[in-house]
């Protein structure tokens, strides 16, 4: 058996020089310091993405993307297909944990200033993937075509319409018409299973290649140390094995959550019924949803909502471009402002999410 693997390796190696890759992997080190734990969230996010792709493809085998059949097909998956409830529940749970893990990954990279030169492209691709995750969440939410998802999509797309100039055309583009109906479902279905995964995969490839090529970022306090004082761990196999162990734990967590708290389906969407009381967006949109409630209906000439959306848009762009305006960190100087801004953002998100959840 050993002989077989050796022969197979040699066969491939002779053609594509695997030795170079093994040598390259062997030379890669992961810095070990008190914040090393945060390095694992990138890998965990990647794992969630893989889970989403696998369970998503499985759901596609039975899901029907039309307003007449979507709800019934999900019902069929939940009730008739063996382990269908498990696959759908894992998809739903993994989606939520994916976004949570991406939040943690993004903030940890931010606070470590790992985005600084020369890793600007890694940061930008990561941020674009973060926005896409929210897009995945938004588009996937409508697919079961139940009352909650129907009204959440109505409200969500309506907010898009408040953006000046491009808002209205954008809203009509997303809805596939004036209203949320079967056309919207077809569109968001297309986004969710074809357009977004395609773009996301390209971004992910760039992101991962850059990480391999540039190595894992050393935090500033670590970089200043003498090379003899720097503790490191080989990427392969030490770090990879730890990653794998963590993935195994995460998979178990998903299984437990899916079994004990399976995803529910609710009632089929009826465009001519009233919105149910206490309707709320998914938790990751809650802080924005809640903040918009505090804006007065008019601020000077503009609508309060429009101002709110523009502020969130501006904050998002500033956040996306942080490597380009935080020059101090790139020069290796400490930039406390970045920390305060980050802390403010974290507190803001947590507090408003809590308020939104309680209301």
């Amino acid at each position: 058996m050993k002989n077989f693997w050796k022969k197979l390796y040699d066969w491939v190696n002779e053609r594509v020089q695997l030795d170079d890759l093994v040598k390259f992997m062997g030379k890669k080190y992961v810095p070990v310091h008190r914040h090393s734990i945060w390095y694992y969230f990138g890998g965990v996010s990647l794992f969630f993405f893989v889970i989403q792709v696998v369970t998503g493809i499985l759901l596609l085998f039975y899901y029907k993307g039309s307003s007449d059949l979507a709800f019934e097909s999900v019902q069929f998956i939940m009730a008739k297909v063996q382990f269908g409830w498990l696959v759908r529940s894992i998809h739903a749970w993994s989606a939520n944990l994916f976004i949570l893990s991406v939040f943690v990954h993004m903030f940890s990279v931010y606070f470590e200033k790992a985005y600084r030169k020369p890793r600007e492209i890694t940061w930008v691709t990561g941020m674009l993937m973060f926005f896409m995750c929210l897009g995945f969440g938004f588009s996937g939410y409508l697919l079961p075509w139940n009352t909650l998802s129907f009204f959440a999509t109505k409200v969500g797309t309506d907010i898009t319409g408040a953006v000046p100039v491009i808002g209205e055309p954008l809203k009509i583009f997303i809805r596939g018409g004036e209203d949320v109906n079967g056309a919207t479902l077809s569109r968001l279905f297309g986004f969710h299973v074809a357009l977004f995964p395609g773009i996301f995969t390209i971004l992910l490839a760039v992101h991962l290649i850059l990480i391999q090529r540039q190595g894992i970022s050393e935090p500033m306090h670590f970089k200043e140390k003498n090379p003899s004082e720097k503790k490191t761990m080989p990427f392969f196999p030490n770090f990879i094995l730890r990653d794998l162990l963590l993935w195994l734990l995460v998979l178990n967590l998903l299984a437990v959550l899916a079994v004990f708290f399976p995803a529910d389906l609710g009632h089929k969407a009826d465009p001519f019924s009233s919105a149910p009381a206490g309707i709320k967006p998914e938790w990751y949109f809650l802080f924005m949803f809640q903040s918009l409630k505090y804006f007065p209906s008019h601020i000077f000439f503009a609508e309060g909502e429009t101002v709110g959306i523009l502020l969130f848009g501006a904050a998002g762009i500033l956040w996306l471009l942080v490597p380009f305006w935080d020059m101090k960190s790139s020069r290796g100087e400490r930039n406390r402002f970045i920390n305060y801004l980050g802390l403010f953002a974290v507190m803001f998100i947590i507090i408003l999410t809590f308020l939104g959840w309680r209301s």
Partner: protein, 151 residues
């Protein structure tokens, strides 16, 4: 006398660990692949078994013509010959399952997929079909035609 107890014990321990981990891995993999393969198996859809269907009015059905009738999930071809006789046959070609049609010009049942031919009684007479078409019973009550399975 010196007992070398160490070696066999260690070997046993190692074997135990090996089987323990192996069984764990096997259990883990089956807990993933069992649900996965079960999921992929299409669920059996309960359906009402059809034994008889109405095929419309005799007066609406021209001589020397044929039409496809839906019999449960399967198509059945109903033919009225030039002399007014009615016949019902399975419309599923016995070659590769295409749906056959009545050809007025040939006075035959013809399958477009591979030029299979059956005579009006469903006997395979030319082309690739290996077997005749399964016959159904035709009953006329008043003006209405009924097709039923041959029990």
């Amino acid at each position: 006398m010196v007992f070398d107890l160490d070696k066999p014990v260690r070997k046993n321990r190692r074997d135990f660990l090996k089987y323990f981990l192996g069984a764990g891995l096997l259990g883990f993999l089956s807990s993933i692949f069992y649900p996965l393969f079960s999921y992929l198996k299409p669920p059996v859809q309960g359906e009402v078994e059809v034994t008889s269907v109405s095929a419309g009015k005799l007066s609406d059905f021209a001589k020397d013509s044929g039409k496809i009738i839906r019999f449960g999930k399967k198509p059945v071809i109903l033919i009225r010959s030039a002399n007014g006789e009615l016949r019902a046959l399975s419309a599923v070609c016995t070659h590769l399952g295409c749906t056959v049609q009545y050809r007025k010009d040939l006075e035959l049942i013809w399958c477009a997929c591979h030029n299979g031919k059956y005579d009006i009684n469903g006997r395979n007479i030319s082309g690739p079909p290996p077997r005749p078409l399964d016959p159904y019973t035709v009953i006329v009550k008043g003006d209405e035609i009924f097709i039923s399975k041959i029990s």
